[in-house]
Amino acid sequence: MTDFQDLVDRQYTALFRFALSLSRSEAEAADLTQQTFFLWASKGHQLRDTSKAKSWLFTTLYREFLGRRRHEVRFQKIELDDAREEEMSILPNVNALDSAAVLQALREVEGPFRAPLTLFYLEQFSYQEIADVLEVPIGTVMSRLSRGKALLRQRLLSKEEALGNKIVSFQSKKKGESHG
């Protein structure tokens, strides 16, 4: 039990955060986290390389989440090309927002983009680790992170505008200059 307890102590908060970003409520996130550790207790011994326990836990939690969502409404298809280029170049003033608002913005990002964003921001996973956890190619990770960040900026900007805060643009000093 000690090894298991050590693993829980090391990973449960991180897993909960990941689950919270994916799910609809704190209760569901806690349930997903608990279920993931239960599966580890049942099947974790099958993992030969124990150094991959963290990746196994995140992958399992993500699969559990997808399994529960299988019968629900599919993620809305997002066409980011519709977003204006200048919007994608604007960075919101995140410091003006509290953690709850940032988390809320993250949870508003559509599912396929939210999972890699969460792993990137919360756990500092590398692109390779994200690809392993989500079981997608590296190119897909890059694409989803790139688009996901743009969507997150849009959500944050909306929240910031609601607060009436000032927007800081990359292009504010050299408006119209192309660098992309």
Partner: protein, 249 residues
């Protein structure tokens, strides 16, 4: 490499600099050094990422989550299937069921069962033969019901009255036609086994739409199927309908 491509690659560059020596970023980082505008974008982007990460890192898990995980796993810990007592109990149950089954074989009719019922019986056989394992082992049926509820698997709000006093072995879930099905296995007082299979009523055939239990002999299996609310239940044992009847009436 143009700036758009460089931005695309650098979107996965971690803000704490862990990726600085990763060759996959080398060309994009060189591009950053060559282009002041891109450099400014990159600096702001990394700062933005670092701030987001910092904001999100203060989220704490619920205070009781850790204890719940540890306690939950402890409760659900599998009994050792290899324990001699349990092995003998299962062997005895299988033997008894086989004897009873062979005695009643000639009287059997072979009505058709729904797909989820057939798959339920296959799953039970596989569990009893040791070819698959329970998701959870527990001698307490109540614990199994709680576990199924926690995991949002189909489950009875309460067990049929005559099953409540029986010891359980464990439970398992499986998917049938995209619907989750739960199986709870219990030990009868005579040493045999009895199994409760539960799924949503939407998975039911016409056999299983009635509220009154419909008893059917299918090979060596006796089954009783009924509907209650949004759920449909099948009670099954290897034996006769008379043996089964005592548990449903």
């Amino acid at each position: 490499m143009d700036n758009r491509e460089a931005k695309f690659i650098l979107s996965v560059y971690r803000p704490d600099g862990q990726d600085a020596s990763d060759q996959r970023f080398a060309e994009a980082l060189n591009q950053v050094r060559r282009d002041p505008m891109l450099e400014r974008w990159f600096g702001a982007s990394v700062a933005f990422d670092a701030t987001i990460a910092e904001k999100l890192r203060v989220i704490e898990a619920p205070p009781d989550l850790r204890e719940n995980i540890l306690a939950g796993v402890k409760v659900s810990r599998p009994l050792r299937w290899s324990s001699p007592l349990l092995r003998w109990a299962v062997a005895a149950a299988v033997l008894m069921a086989a004897i009873v089954g062979s005695l009643t074989l000639r009287e059997m009719t072979r009505p058709r069962l729904s797909g989820w019922q057939t798959q339920g019986l296959r799953t039970i056989t596989s569990l009893v033969d040791g070819q698959s394992s329970f998701d959870v082992h527990s001698q307490s049926a109540r614990q199994l019901v709680n576990w199924l509820q926690t995991n949002r698997a189909p489950v009875a709000s309460k067990l049929p009255r005559n099953l409540e006093t029986l010891n359980s072995l464990g439970c398992k879930t499986f998917l049938w036609d995209q619907e989750l099905v739960s199986v709870i296995c219990l030990t009868r007082p005579d040493g045999g086994l009895i199994h409760l299979v539960i799924t949503k009523a939407s998975a039911a055939s016409d056999l299983a739409r009635r509220n009154e239990p419909q008893l059917v002999q299918h090979g060596q299996w006796a089954t009783a199927t009924w509907r209650e609310g949004e759920m449909i239940y099948m009670l099954a044992l290897e034996g006769s309908r008379d043996q089964l009847r005592t548990y449903v009436l």
